[in-house]
C-alpha cells in the first residue's frame, strides 16, 4: 500500500528537506502534497485523501496548533495521524500538541533518521516500507 502525505511548513526549503527524507526512507508514497500554512492544508484536505500529516507549528495565518484544533473537531480529519516538526520543543509545547491529538513530535534541527523513525512508528510500517501486519503474516507462513 502507498501513502498520501501532506507536508505543512511555511518554509519551502524545510518542505523540500522533509520530502527528500521521506523519498529516501523507503516509504511507498503515492502523492506528497504541500501546504505553506494551516489554511492551505485544510484546502488540500478538502480535496484529497491524506494518510499522514507532517506539520510545523510556527506558521502564518493558521498555525500548527490551530490546525490540530480544527482537525480534532472534524470527524473525518481527527483520525489522520499528525507528526509535528518544530523548533518549539519545550515539555509544555509537547504536552499541548499531544493533547491536541498529534501522534508524533520531532524537534528541529533533526537528523533524517529521527524523522524516518517517528514516521515508521506513526504509520506502522517496517523498515522496508511494508506494513508490520503484512510482515507478521509473511513471517507466519510455513513454507
Amino acid at each position: 500500500m502507498s501513502f498520501n502525505i501532506l507536508v505543512i511548513d511555511d518554509s519551502n526549503s524545510m518542505r523540500a528537506v522533509i520530502k527528500k527524507v521521506i523519498s529516501l526512507s523507503g516509504f511507498k508514497v503515492d502523492c506528497c502534497f504541500e501546504a505553506g500554512n494551516g489554511r492551505e492544508a485544510l484546502e488540500v484536505l478538502a480535496n484529497y485523501w491524506v494518510d499522514v500529516i507532517i506539520s510545523d507549528i510556527n506558521m502564518p495565518e493558521v498555525n500548527g496548533l490551530e490546525l490540530l484544533n480544527k482537525l480534532q473537531q472534524d470527524i473525518l480529519y481527527k483520525e489522520i495521524p499528525v507528526v509535528i516538526v518544530t523548533t518549539e520543543g519545550s515539555n509544555e509545547r509537547m504536552e499541548d500538541v499531544f493533547n491536541l491529538g498529534a501522534k508524533g513530535f520531532i524537534k528541529k534541527p533533526f537528523l533524517p533518521e529521527e524523522l524516518r523513525r517517528v514516521l515508521y512508528q506513526v504509520i506502522g510500517v517496517g523498515d522496508d516500507g511494508g506494513y508490520e501486519e503484512d510482515k507478521k503474516n509473511v513471517d507466519g507462513l510455513d513454507f
Binding site: 526549503s13 523540500a16 523548533t87 520543543g89 519545550s90
Partner: protein, 171 residues
C-alpha cells in the same frame, strides 16, 4: 538575571547543532571560551556584517523572558547553507532559497536555545524577518542594558554573528 557564561554556552551549542544537522556546515567559534569576541578584531568588521550580499534575520520571542534573536550572515555562507540543505548546485540557488534557509536557521537557533534555556516553558516565537544588505543593524532587543549575548563564527572564510537579547517579562 542570568549566568552569562552558561547562556553563551547554550547559544553556541544551539548554533553548532543547527548548522551541523541541517546545513552540514562546521562552524568555528571565534571565542572558544564562550567569553565573547568582537568580530571586528578578528575579521575587520565593526560588530555587524556589512557586505553587499550580507543578510540579517531577526526573530522575537515571548515568555517568562522576552527578547530577540538576530543572525547576521555573509552572503557566501547563506549560499553554502542553501546548497547543502537542498542538495543543489550553486547556479540552482534562488533568492527565495536563501531567504528560506536563513529564516529557518534563525528559527531553529532561537527555538533550540530557548529549549535549552527552559525546557519546561513554551515560548512564543514570531515569524522571522529577512533583510538583504542590511548595513549596520543595531539589535532591537527589548532592553540592551539587560542581557545581550553575541557570538561570532567562521566557516571557509564566511562569517556568522548571532546576537541574543533577553529581558525579564515584567520589565
Amino acid at each position: 538575571m542570568v549566568d552569562t557564561k552558561k547562556i553563551k554556552k547554550m547559544l553556541m551549542d544551539s548554533t553548532f547543532e543547527v548548522f551541523e544537522k541541517m546545513f552540514y556546515i562546521s562552524l568555528e567559534a571565534l571565542n572558544a571560551d564562550h567569553e565573547g569576541c568582537d568580530i571586528a578584531v578578528t575579521i575587520g568588521f565593526d560588530g555587524y556584517v556589512k557586505g553587499e550580499d550580507d543578510i540579517a534575520v531577526t526573530i522575537n520571542f515571548d515568555g517568562s523572558v522576552r527578547g530577540e534573536g538576530q543572525l547576521s550572515l555573509s552572503g557566501g555562507l547563506t549560499e553554502m547553507m542553501a546548497q547543502n540543505m537542498l542538495s543543489l548546485d550553486a547556479y540552482e540557488i534562488t533568492e527565495k532559497d536563501i531567504e528560506d534557509c536563513s529564516k529557518e536557521a534563525a528559527n531553529m537557533i532561537c527555538g533550540n536555545f530557548l529549549r535549552k534555556f527552559n525546557v519546561d516553558e513554551a515560548f512564543n516565537l514570531s515569524l522571522p524577518i529577512f533583510r538583504r544588505n542590511p548595513g549596520a543593524i543595531p539589535c532591537q532587543g527589548p532592553d540592551l542594558q539587560d542581557s545581550m549575548f553575541r557570538l561570532n563564527f567562521v566557516s571557509n572564510g564566511e562569517c556568522l554573528e548571532v546576537i541574543m537579547t533577553m529581558a525579564d517579562r515584567n520589565r
